[in-house]
Symmetry: C2
Subunit: 414 residues, 2 copies
């Protein structure tokens, strides 16, 4: 591709592909409710397969139901791959995940139509169960299969909110869970995921595109605080072991750790449960979640350490029992510097305004980094919203992101 030339992406085609996928599991006027292995999810994966075929790609489904489209290269060797997921929050919007699948297919299509068969093989992938909105402990199920991180026990142990095992859900969708290990790939050189931003930074900066150089590490803590239930009137303040009062002090202190570190540190307490949860009873127990993220590995470590110390000190001071579990812990994922440069160059030469940024949200790309060089492209989200039917990305911004992806694919595969 000469430096003066641009990749042309057909905007109406982008729009119609997004529209058509939004019909499977449509929720209200603009929302989607499409959980992994549900009938609407299966239909949507079939629609992705058709989209790949229309793009001139060979299509296959792997053992967990990831849909792969392949544009075979003239030469053997590791693959240049791109994709995202089509399962949604409950409800979610029509862009989160889907844009990265549609973008990968249409980028490959545009390249094939204009430049024919690539030198190196290009693959696109529609991954399964990123959101964990049906199976709470199965986030990244599709990329876990690709990276060989599912054990045979997971198949029966991972349950949805109704108690259905993910193995049964797979069988209902015509898949054979005993074959999961066959989904493991070791032949991917580079993985690029296009995704909506899910935050407001691009909008704040008035930029359509972000090149992601790192994805925040994350820890989820589930914290149990044990106090003593007492009568809210008859027990004087002195001597109370009030778990809500303790949790309140902790929430403020934990958030302060992130505020004092400054951006891009973030800390959120999003879930709180109180026992006995009565207006007239001092709380005996509070369980709350702590979500803490940073893209720099060292800072992340020290942030977690500070927050753990803070919680222990407050519990100690108040005579409250404290314990926690850490159901989710991901290291920060530093993207491949060469891939980041290729993406920056792809944007620059097409005069697409962009900034290089980190991702505060987690993505399948963090798993793919175990087997491939990775990077991501973000496009601007209206009001920084996601995980809601209101999420919105303009077609112009979507096209800008796909052009960066296509141009980078061209640079690597042609």
């Amino acid at each position: 591709m000469p430096a003066s030339e641009e990749v042309v992406i057909d905007a109406p085609l982008v729009e119609s592909a997004l529209e058509s996928l939004a019909q499977y599991g449509a929720y209200g006027a603009t929302g989607v409710w499409r959980t992994a292995y549900s009938p609407e999810w299966q239909e949507a994966q079939d629609a992705v397969a058709r989209l790949c075929e229309e793009a001139g790609m060979a299509v296959r489904r792997d053992a967990v139901g990831n849909v792969w489209g392949r544009l075979a290269g003239r030469e053997d060797g590791p693959v240049i791959a791109s994709g995202s997921h089509i399962d949604s929050q409950t409800p979610g919007g029509r862009f989160d995940g889907v844009l990265g699948v549609v973008g990968a297919v249409l980028a490959a299509r545009a390249l094939r139509e204009r430049y024919g068969r690539p030198t190196r093989t290009i693959e696109v992938c529609s991954l399964c169960e990123e959101e964990a909105s049906r199976f709470p402990s199965a986030s990244f199920w599709g990329s876990r299969a690709i990276t060989g991180r599912i054990t045979p026990e997971d198949v029966e142990k991972v349950l949805d909110f109704q108690g259905v095992s993910i193995g049964d859900a797979m069988r209902d969708a015509g898949l054979d869970p005993t074959l999961i290990s066959s989904a493991h790939r070791n032949d991917i050189d580079a993985w690029i995921e296009l995704h909506i931003e899910q935050g407001p930074r691009l909008e704040d900066a008035r930029l359509p595109v972000g090149i992601v150089s790192a994805i925040s590490g994350i820890r989820h803590y589930i914290v149990d605080l044990a106090g003593r239930s007492d009568h809210a009137g008859a027990r004087p303040m002195e001597g109370r072991l009030d778990a809500v009062a303790g949790a309140a002090e902790m929430v403020t202190a934990l958030i302060n750790v992130a505020l004092e570190l400054g951006p891009p540190a973030v800390t959120t307490v999003g879930r709180v449960a109180v026992v006995p949860n009565l207006a007239s009873a001092v709380a005996e127990k509070v369980t709350f979640t702590l979500d803490s993220r940073h893209p720099d590995p060292k800072t992340q470590e020290s942030m977690h350490a500070q927050q753990e110390t803070t919680m222990r000190e407050i519990a100690e001071k108040r005579g409250l029992g404290i314990s926690w579990s850490i159901p989710l812990a991901l290291e920060p994922c530093v993207c491949d510097p060469d891939l980041v440069k290729i993406l920056e160059h792809a944007a620059s030469k097409q005069e697409i305004p962009f900034m290089t940024m980190h991702s505060g949200a987690v993505h399948d790309t963090q798993n793919m980094a175990r087997i491939a060089r990775v990077a991501m492209i973000f496009v601007r989200s209206k009001d920084g919203r996601s995980h809601t039917p209101e999420e919105f990305t303009s077609t112009a911004d979507a096209v800008a992101g796909i052009r960066v992806l296509a141009s980078a694919m061209y640079a690597m595969a042609y």
Copy 2:
């Protein structure tokens, strides 16, 4: 009763009456689960009626099912009354409420057996639905009927947790809700309620008995905080409208208002609900309860005002929406000074160690104060516990409280 003489209360009789009432709705080894108008509650009221008959009293049930026992005096005129309730928390213990019913009956019995017919009429009462453990908006149903504070609409509007109206529950128990107004009394001179303390102050002071000179006023607020839900990773800290963070700051500040006022001010946030209540989402909404109490009318007013200001200021500073309702508001109830003196004298002359104190818990007595002079007697609770199967008061302490009650009844009615 000559000054040197003591009222003798039969300790084994107290113990066996408490034991026998604990069988109706028994829950585990020491608990009780006995909600208003349930079959077990009806059986327990029948048992109270038998206890009154055995004490030589005339028994009647009023329109809401309060059981009244009457020891008619030689002279006409307003009545000296005592009682409490036998409905329980779910589960509760065997002392909360029941002790005041058993104590009133056995005090009257001891007086009748020793001194015969009183000059003035003595009545005892087993009130219905104090705890609101079945009908959340029907606390003090029995004393509300006696004080004429039930409207005909309440009968169908007040629902239990299963949606059964209190009118239907009354009809199932053989009562006619159209007759409620007949339960209204205007002929009670003095009302004394014996009750377990429900807090640790008597135990801390190593005293068996407390004479209650005031009952705290109480307000329950239900506070709604409105923020904005955001992605816990992708939304930077700056610009968040985090309802949990706001609630945490408020809880600490609200509790500080009570701490700074000092005893006997108490403030409790006992119930918290978060929307959407997800680990990875900044909270859009938090609803929490605020329970705030003080026995001094002026201080109570200024405490509520300070707390309201605090909440508004924090919401304003954080850009959160705030609104609240006040489903429960009771003025402090200052007990009748003459009755308090009679009780203090009754304790002193029997050499029963006591202190004069306020009640932080609410009681039917607050309603009875609308039609009669009132006071209360507390007895020591082990570890200050109540509203739990573990609540415990020794027979010796129970007897000490009943002796104070009987001696005061003697002073007023003989």
